[in-house]
Amino acid sequence: MLFGVYTFIAGILHFFKTPWKNSVLRIVELITVLSLIIGPIFILLCIGRLDRLHYLFLYPRIQSPITWDIIAIMTDLVGCFIYLYLTFIPDFAILRDNDDIKIANWRKKLYKALALNYQDTPSQRERLHKITRTMSVMIIVLAIVAYTVLAWIFSLTLQPGWNSSIFAPYFIVAGLYSGVGVIIIAMYATRKYFHLERYLRKVHFVAAGIVLLVMALLFGYFTFSEYFARWFSHKATDVQLLDTLFTGYFWEFIFANYIGVLVPIFIIFFKKFRTIKSITFAAVIAVLGLWLNRFLIVVPTLETPYLPIQDTRAEFVHYSATWVEYSLSFAGIAAFCLLFTLLVKFVPIIPMSGIIDYEREHKKSKKKNRKIVTE
């Protein structure tokens, strides 16, 4: 359920006209497309009874957070795809018009169809910029809505560990934290593999690293607040949950909530540690920590139910992941890597249109500056 976050980040980068966005934006967008494809497949895998999937649409209850989630996810999906398509159009146009690149005929045809006769005239450009900007706002809002609703699926229940009023912002912060982490890792891999040292420079990593630092601080603050409140109020079921966390899941808990937060903070906080490799290492730690954090939100709570399960097999009462879960998790990561490499072959990894825009703006401002000087 991370897919909303990447468009959210892309939206923010776009809306606030972040100066260094060009090099990073396409990577973020590609990750978004992939998460949009892979994410929902995993939701379907988790449903278990797919034969009853249509019931969600046949008998929806407007009062149920699950229904809100379906509506929010579908709206978000459509919005994300529209937004991403908008950002791809100028590049498709460049690829269509460029005869120097030798590509298959079908690809040329596809680029032509996808470019929508975009000729980069001032009016076309202005129109595209306008709708891209509104869509970027839209997807920021939608990502917040979708993520909030997802958090509500947990927090509106009475389950220990889930019933929390800060779950929605906590989820958004956690999503951004791991999202930025994945982006840094993808930036590192792309830079290394395609030798894009000229475009993906240290400054990009430092900037992303600082976002990661801010998110780590926020995430750490939320995590502390969440567990501290649970421990302090000492409700019987919460105590049981904390006991489970500190006994059965001790190392996972320490890694997710201490190492996964403190190590990235420590690395990025000090200026001299801010190298490309160390920032990527911090991102890896953050992503692993966050992955475990999600695991700890779901599994131990399900292991401490209000009503004890009776007369059933031991493996039903205590969950431990089987090879099916492990292989599905790894399949998700593998699918992501595979599709990322395939997509990179289809669209330019550094948005050419973005660079052209940037240079155009640069020239404009230079002219303006000159005017001021002459005046």
Binding site: R61, I62, Q63, W68, I71, T75, V78, G79, I82, L86, I89, L116, N117, Y118, Q119, T121, S123, Q124, R127, L128, K130, I131, T134, M135, M138, L142, V145, G248, Y249, W251, E252, F255, L288, L292, D311, A314, E315, H318, S320, A321, Y326
Partner: protein, 314 residues
């Protein structure tokens, strides 16, 4: 090909520390804990057998014979394990004569139940006592056990009548000897309760004297949907008669059907609160209108492009 393989190998070794770290993280101690627990052998010598036998005379005059067979840890008394699928034989004995009444297997809770029908003829001693034995023959691992009880057959009669429009519970208890003479029960504690869904609700505790007991039934007991309720009387753990119950139903409940108010527009009704529909509609219309606006603009961009192409061709 070999070169590629070697590169792959070296890459694997290069990242082996990271890979092993992830593997260790995933296969945490938790998943192995259960297996270790299962491996620990079960030592029966640490346990002692707890064997209980009871008899209940039921409302239809049949007799329920019940055995509970569990093993209990000698040190940790809370550690109790029921013995299931154990054959228990129930006998009626008199001197050296043994009559097998029936056999039952213990359940998952370690309880074996056998119901001797009301028509069962028991061997009685001179004083009219029935001697019953429940015997567990034992297995290779578990020693055999047996327990006996002695009960006298008591007849418990229950009548629910209205005397001067006062709902009255009349209880009669007597024994019948071999020639058919009724002897009223001298004294015994009795509990009157009302049957409910999960358990019985006791409403009065009293004493039967000279074989009779009378009780004025309260007027504020609701009963079921039709106003029916079942009154139960029971004698528990009596030295001579053991456990007995008798029950009867009557339209004594004061239940008034209150029609359930149909609630509209709440979190738990069929239709949601109005504000939910309004908020959802505003949100969805707002967002989807924007999508449509964007798509319309895309078509305009395309149209402009086509026109541009046409003019350039001209």
């Amino acid at each position: 090909m070999t070169l590629k393989l070697e590169i792959m190998k070296s890459n694997l070794f290069k990242y082996s520390y990271l890979a092993s770290f992830i593997v260790v993280l995933l296969f945490s101690s938790k998943s192995f804990a259960q297996e270790e627990e299962q491996k620990e052998a079960f030592d029966l010598s640490k346990y002692k057998t707890v064997y209980k036998f009871n008899s209940f005379k039921q409302a239809d005059n049949s007799r329920l014979l019940e055995v509970s067979l569990i093993v209990q840890n000698k040190k940790d008394r809370k550690d109790k394990i029921p013995v299931f699928e154990a054959d228990i034989n129930f006998y009626n004995i008199l001197d050296d004569e043994e009559v097998l009444l029936g056999t039952a297997k213990t359940s998952q809770e370690g309880i074996a139940q056998f119901i001797a029908p009301a028509s069962q003829n028991y061997l009685l001693d001179e004083e009219g006592y029935i001697h019953l034995i429940a015997r567990f023959e034992g297995t290779k691992e578990l020693k055999g056990k047996e327990k006996d009880i002695t009960v006298k057959d008591l007849n418990l009669e229950l009548e629910l009548t209205e005397i001067d429009s006062v709902k009255t519970v009349l209880v009669k208890a007597f024994t019948i000897d071999s020639v058919g003479v009724e002897t009223p029960l001298e004294e015994a504690d009795i509990i009157i309760s009302v049957k409910s869904m999960l358990n019985n609700m006791p409403i009065e505790e009293g004493t039967i004297e000279d074989g009779e007991f009378e009780y004025e039934f309260p007027t504020d007991i609701p009963g079921d949907d039709d106003g029916d309720l079942t009154v139960m009387i029971s004698i528990e753990d009596h030295d001579d008669f053991g456990n007995l119950v008798q029950e009867k139903s009557a339209k004594w409940g004061n239940h008034l059907k209150t029609p359930v108010k149909k609630v509209k527009n709440t979190l738990w009704s069929e239709s949601a609160p109005l504000w939910m529909y309004i908020v959802l509609t505003i949100l969805l219309v707002g967002v989807w209108a924007n999508y449509i606006y964007t798509i319309v603009n895309l078509f305009r961009i395309k149209k402009e492009g086509i026109q541009l192409e046409l003019t350039s061709e001209e």
